[in-house]
Structure formats: C-alpha cells, structure tokens
Amino acid sequence: AHAQQVGLAVANLQANFFNQIKQSVEAEATAKGVTVTTADAHGDSATQVNQIQDLITKGVKALIYIPAGATAAGVPVRDAHASHIPVVAVDRNAPDAPADTFIATDSVAAARTLGNYVCKITGGKGKVAIIQGQLGTTPEQDRNKGFNEALAHCPGLQVVAKQASKEWHQDEGFSIAQDMLQRHPDITVFFGRADALALGAAQAVKIANLDHKVVIVGFDGDTAGLLAVQNGTLAATMTQKTQYMGRLALDSALRLAAGQKVAKIQLQPADLTTQANVGPFIAQHP
Amino acid sequence: MTLARENLRDATPVAADRAARFAAEGLGKAFSGVPVLADVSFTLRAGEVLALLGENGAGKSTLSALIAGLLRPDGGTMRWEGRPYAPASPGEAMAAGIGLIHQEMRLLPDLSIAENVFAGRLPMRGGRVDRALMNQRARAQLQRLGLDVAPTQLVRRLRVAAQQQVEIAKALTQNARLLILDEPTAALGGAESERLFAQIEQLRGEGVSFLYISHRLEEIARIADRVIVLRDGALVARHDTARVPVSTLLRDMVGRSIERIFPPLAPPAAREVLRVEALCAARGAFRDIGFAVHAGEVLGIAGIVGAGRSELVRAIYGADRIASGRLLLEGKPQHIAGPRDAIRAGIVLVPEDRKGQGVLLDQSLARNLTLGNLDRLAPDGWLRPARLRRFAAALIARLGVKGRPEQAARALSGGNQQKMVIARWLARAPKLFILDEPTRGIDVGARAAIYHLIADLAGAGMAVIIVSSELEEVLGLSHRILVLSRGRQMGILDRAEADSVAVMRLATG
C-alpha cells in the first residue's frame, strides 16, 4: 500500500526557525513511514499559493502550511478545503480562513516573559534599543505587543532607539546596531526581535569597545542563538519548541487525515532560556 | 502614405524648379570649440549632381549632417525649395524630402533587409505592416542595384558590400528630392558602382538633386555636374563643370600637387615568406587555394564582391577556421589557431570592416593605437603611461591622423579612423602585412601616402597582401595579382601581363 502523503509548504527555508520545523516534520515522517513533499516559497505568498496548488494536484492527504508573506493568506486553506484536504497551520493563521488546527508559540506571552526578565536583570533601569523584524508581519507585531506590555510595568527601562530590518538578517542587525551605538553610546539593552538580529547586535557591541556592559536578548532559540546564550553573548532568548511543533504538526495532519478531531488552536509556550538552563536545549532542541 | 508622396512628386513639373533648390549661406559648426566648418555657402539645383570633395576630416560628413538634420549649425542659414530650412531632427529633413546615406553604415543587423530599407516608413495596409509590398519593393530596388538576395534575410548575414547596397537602397526608396550620398561606393566593386551610377542618372532625369561625396576622383567626371571642394572646413574651390583635371582637384583639396599616386616598386627578393597550399575554408567560402608571397613582394587579390577574398585573408590570419590545407611561414608549417598566433608569427591584418572589426569607437586614439602592441610596449606586463602616449603620438604624426591621442575614436572622420587601424600594425614590423580594402574612405593625398608606405614596407623586405575592390589600386600596387571567382583561384597574373581586361575576364569567369 502507498504510504500516506503529506504536503509541507514552508514559508522560507532560509530562516532557521522554519528550517528547524521542516527538519522535525521530515524526521518524524521518516520514523512513521509517511512521505512528505516539501516546498519552499522563498518568502513569497504567490509562490506558495502555486506550490500548494501543486501539492493538491499531487494528491497529498493533508497539508502542513507555514504561511509566507507578511501575514497568512487564506487562499491556500480554501483551495485545500475545496479538495477535502485538511490543513495544519503553523506559526501564522489566516484570519479569514482558519486552518483545521493552528500550532504556534504564544508570542505575545513569550515576549512579555522576556521583557519581564530584562526588567529583572537590569534592575529595572536602562536604555533599550530594539531592532525590529520586518514591519507589518505577525511575529513583529506580537513580539512588539508582549514586550511593550512588560515595559509598561518597568518604567525605568526607556526605549531610546527602534529601527526595523527588512529581512530579519544578521548583517542587518549588525549595521543597525552599529549605527544605533554611534548615536546613543549609552545603550544598555538590545532586544533583537529574532536571534539573528540579536547576534548581529552582539557583534556590533563587541567591536564598539564600550565601557559598560550591554544586555542583549533575542527571540526564537535558533541553533546559533542557543550557543550564544551558552557562552554569554546573549543574556537570554525565548526558545520556541520547533522540534515539538514539527512533530505535533505531522501528528495533527495524520489525525485530521484519518478523520479524527484535533483542537482548533494549539498554542505552545516558549521557554525563557538563559545560561542556567540552556544546556539541555543545545543537546536536544525542544 | 509613401504612395501619396510619390504621386505628389510626379505631379511637380520638373522644369519649373530648375532654379536653386537648396542653398547654404555661411554655414559654420564647431565641436567643443574647435571649428570644423566655417562660412560654407553653395547652391544646388534640381536634377543636378554636385560633387563634394575634400581630404579626410575636411568636414564633408559634418556638412551632410547639418543638411540632413543630424546636427544643428552654429551659424549660417539654409534654404530649401525657396523657404528657410532649419531641420531639428532627421525626421524633419526626411519629411522635407532630403535623404542621406551616411558614410558609416548604419543598419540594424537583426532586422531583415526589407525592414532596414523601409525603417521608419514601413508601408501599411489596413493598420498592418504590408510585408508583401515591403519585400517586393525592397527586392526590386536591390535588383536594380545588382544585389539578388531575399529581402527577408537578416542584414547581419550580409557582407560589407551588400550592406552598402542595402544602405543605398534605403536612400533611393525615400523618394527624396535631394539625396546626399556620403562615399556610397567606398565598399563597392566596379560593377556595383556602375549600377549605382545608372540609378543616379535615372533619378537625376526625374529631377532629383544629389550631393555626392567620394574620394574616388575618377568617378567625379563620370557622374557629377559641378564640383565644390572643402579644405579644413572652408570652401576653397567651385568648378562649374566636372571636367576638371584630377591634378587640379588634388591641388584644391590638398593645397599642393601630388606627383604620382602609385610609387615605383622594387623587385621582390627570392626569399619566400608565406606559402599557402590547398587551403579550404571551413564554411566553404573558398577552396583549393595555393600561392606564395615573397619578401619585398606585394600580392594583390582581386575578384568581384563576394568572391571570397576577405574570407581567404581572414583564414590566413586565423580569424576564421579552415577545413584543410597548409600554411608555411618562411618554410615552416604553422598552426595558426587565432589572430593571436598569427600576430606572434609575424602576420598582421587590417580588416575590411573598420567599425565592426577595426576600431574601438568609444575609446581613445591612444588605446586604439596601442591595441595589439601591448606585448611589445610592456614586455614585462607593466604599462608606462608616458611611453604609451609617446607611442601613440608618434604613430599619429607618422600617418598624419587628424586627432589627439586622448580623443575618442568616434570623433574622428572615417578616413582618419582607417589610418589609425593601419598605423596600429606599423610598429610591429611584421613579416607579412595583409590589408583588406586598405584605402576605403581614404582621401587621395592620404591614399598616396599609404601606397608609398606599402611600397616602403615591401622595400624593407616585408611581404604584403592587399585585397581591394578598386582594380586600379590592385593593378598599380602589386607585383602579382591573384584572381578569385566564387571561391576558386582563377589564376595569378604578373604585373606585366595584368591589365583590367585580363583581371576582369578571370574574375567573372
């Protein structure tokens, strides 16, 4: 008999976060004898719509959809549903056409946790610089919301600089942080809205030879981010459970395909990761 | 639309505007402050062929450009058919009835012959381009000029002479009342030129006026009614008849008299420089060619257009591939895989297509002249700018090129560009010097200088091959003449037995 076929439409494999999920889905599929067909949209929603159309033609029994673009498009979900294919949305969900189940990190809560931690370790005082992700995207908006909620309870932390990157890239983080330090040499906290941005900021701080300590925090728990937490470059990051989400996504997809019920929304907490607890995460990503 | 214009012309009584159709009054033009034309005045009547003569760089093409709306004069006025005339664009000039064949061929290589002929004025029918009519008219015009090719062929595939004929066809189909022909015969052979003259005769009969520019003075008496001469941008002579002795024209142009055009040739040495055995072209343009050239000898290669002469010399130079045959240089077999090998072995070529093969138009004279000499100027690979400049300046002086080393080649007159391409190779003292159409577009004075130069090169023991469509040039300058016809070697004539009749008999055989 034919193995079950599952389609995996990834937003952009150039982002470590998505690549982790993809690897987890594929590993789990191998373990279960399921065939996964993966498509990479390179961040373009239109490409992704095409790819999902192809996956549907190919005859996948369920679709794991990690939406590309600023926010999730509903069209692929509707197309899949029209062909009676269940959809598992990961990371982002289309507001106008929700998937059968939605798996994501509770970003607002996670960013709030991170903000509270920053408030704690700085003693509630400092000048904060924020390197934003791509403006208008869901993760950027959620992380902004959660972090601001935390700052509202920590009046001593003052945001002195805020600049957006275009593509969440590390070298953008570097240049932006370097230019921020040029203007505000007294920055004491950097929040990179993704680990790559935070790591870029860390490099900028390193070569700036400042006379005070700078707390740098990231978000995601990328491979590189965790190592940076371990060696103290980053004070903390919020580790998203990519491996678990990948496994969960495949599981949910298979259950939906088999006609079983799955919860409509499956939000996952992210782990506040510091030097104290990073070890196990590096050995085995959650 | 074109048809309407044709009718209009037919309706105009020819005799009625026999008076001055075009008049220039005090025209002047300067490029970046350097005057090129000064105070030029002349008139042109209906149905008249006015020859415009002058040395290279005298300003002939510039004057044409002013009349045809390519350039605007800095001073002076023009009148056309009785009204003030100041064209702002070539389109306006064409609309007024003035057409130009530009000296530098200006065709669109990736379009068909017919589309080139009718570029900018495609015949339309029912809102669509009427290809059938366009092709038919292009074919008819080309046949009248003696070129029998499919009008749908891409111009890229045509050789230089055929391209020139397309260019002429383009002008002749314009139904212009004034046609400026800037060296139309420079790339043509005798037969093709004759065809053109016949066309000019016919159109003149219909009342079309011509401004005719040429360096071939023997043509002037043949077709012109009157002659004007430019020297350094000034109009220096007006002859109301074309039956002016060539020597007078020469003096007008150059400001001195030229004793003899063709220098005496010393007898060649016995030492063989190049031997060609059973050479066949990879593309079939020629086959079974075999001859030898000796030290101090000038070998002419004659033939009508398309005979395969250019192909042959390009193959010897390694620019095109050969299918079979042998090349021996000073008795040693050579493997020449490309021009680079040829140059190293001591063979150089002045190619026939100056613009496409000879000159870097957008680069300076100095760069153009040092091209091909860098290995000698910089034996260790290091360039010394001062040395390069001196080198370029010396060559410019030696051939009397009108231009400065740092000037872009594009700004030179056509003839001066040609001199530059020849000059490039002089410093190398090659064993074999091949020149394909060496004097295309070169004025008489400079031509004599180049002939003397060739004779000097031969006198110094170099072997020379010249390919030319001007029979007189081959006859006057060669020790022996190899005649090709349709890629076959028809024979080699000695200087003593060679005359135009003998050569043409072989060439058309």
């Binding site: 929603s45 192809d54 509903g74 106008d96 | 669109l108 589309e115 900018g120 381009v129």
Partner: protein, 324 residues
Amino acid sequence: MSATAPAGPAQGFLRRRIAGAQGPLVGLIVLCVAFSLASPVFLSLRNALNVIDQITVLGILAIGMTGVIVIGGIDLSVGAILALATMTMGWMSRDFALPFPLCIALALLAGAAAGLVNGLLVTRARLPAFIATLTMMSVARGLANLTTDGEQVVGFPDWFTRLSTVRHFGVLSITVTLFIALALAATVFLNFRAGGRSLYAIGGSAEVARLAGIAVRRLTLLVYVMSGLLAAVAGIALAARLDSAQPSDGLGYELDTIAAVVIGGASLAGGVGGIGGTVVGVLIIGVLHNGLNLVGVSPFVQQVVIGLVIAAAVTADTLRRQEG
C-alpha cells in the same frame, strides 16, 4: 544566394513566429515529456490549467518586459511597481472606502505613472535604464510600504477574487483570459504595427532609428509606461489570486521576469525578442516549478535543477543558432 523561395506571407509568418522560439520550445517539450514520465498527474488538463494559472502574473509582467528588452532597456522595477499598484488598490479601498472599480483604476494609474517616471528618467534625465529603474524599484517599494505602514490589506469584494478563481466553462478564469488577450495584442503590435516594428529598430541602434525618422523618445516612453501599466495589471491579478495585498508582493520578480524573456530568446543588447519566445520562456519557468513540485523534489535540489535546466535550454538554442 537567391535560392530562398519566398514563402507565402501567412505561412512564413507562422513559421517565423515558431522559429523565433524554437530552441526554448524544444526545451519546453523535452521538459514536459520528462515530467509526464516522472509524475502520473503532470499530464492532465487540470494540471495544465494550474500551470497557466500559476504563470499568469509572471506572464503579464514578461509581456511588458519584452518591449523594454527589445528596445535594449531593462526594467528592474516591475516587482516594486506591482506592489505599489496592489497596495494603492488595497489602501484606497480599506482606508478611503472608495468604490472598488475606482480603486482598480487608481492602481492602474499608479503603475502607469511609475512607468512614465521610468521613461522620463531614461529619455530626459538620460539615466541608464538600469539606474532609472533601480531607483524606481527602491522608491515604489518604499511607497508601497508607506501606504499602510507595511501592513497587508485583506477582504476584497467577492466578485474581485472570483476573477482569478472561477474557471469559466471549466477552463479559463478572467485573469488567465486577460493574460492570453494581452499576449495576443502584444504579438500583433510587435509584428504588424509600425510602432511595434520600430521598437526593434530602436533596440538595434537608437541612433540609426533616429536617423530613419523614428520617434525614439516617444516610443521609449511608451514602452516604459506600458511596462509599468502591465506591472499594475499583474498586481491586480495577483491580488485577486491571493485575495490580499501586501507590500512584499512581487519581491524579486524582476529577475524572474527578465530571465523568462531572455530564456525566450531575447537579447539584453536589444533588437531581438518576441512575445512567442517570451511565453515559451515563462512556460519553461512555470512548468519547471510545477513539475518539480509534483515529482516531489526537495527544495534545495530544486534550486540546483532549475539552474541547470535554464542553462541547458538556452545552450540548446545558442548551438542551434550557430549552426544555422
């Protein structure tokens, strides 16, 4: 030399159209055969319709780009203009509640205006096309983002999304029909209208074209305006397909579009190219992506394969031309 018998005009025309695209066409056919063997679902009407769906946006962009490349120019701004148009439409509809057809008209206007600026920068400021359209690429993308501060717009009228989703008579959606109509119109223009033929002359040599009395500036302007306008049309088709408009729409499409035109046999040096070839080029890209997805090739390997196939398709064409 005169052995070529003159073909009848109609037959000659067809033959020439196909000949122009022959090399890439062979590549396309080989590709289709290979995918048919590799995937049981490739060769089906439904999949063919999918492919046409999928190439519509790229195809519309490529029509405009063909004109630009034929005159020897280049347009790097098509992706950004596409985004500017979709965002203009979305913004006008969301924030100003204008009637939707008016929003569409404004989007088209924005595209044409951006194209006009490109054209003016090229003809008046005499910027190289590369720089002029690079400028527009940056400016139009910035403006597209500024409209809604980077947010996407969702919720278009139903009739609008149906333009791309409903296949009339089970076959063609309105957007696909529009693409085909535009391609035909462009073919007719480039082959039969004096203006279209003049573009080839301009691409061959702008100077020669000027000497022949062709209105080089006006036609250049027209070509860039058309490219901008078609980018807007493509943007509207994209928005209908995605049922949303976002500032990142069309990011990086410029390179795909240029690639499609060049794969179709056009030369960046100008003077060569045509809609037939371009459509084949677009189809090659579309079929390649579609087929590799159907076969289930992993994404990283896809990148490698796509590169190799493009090289192979164009090499075949180059070799053929050398022989001929």
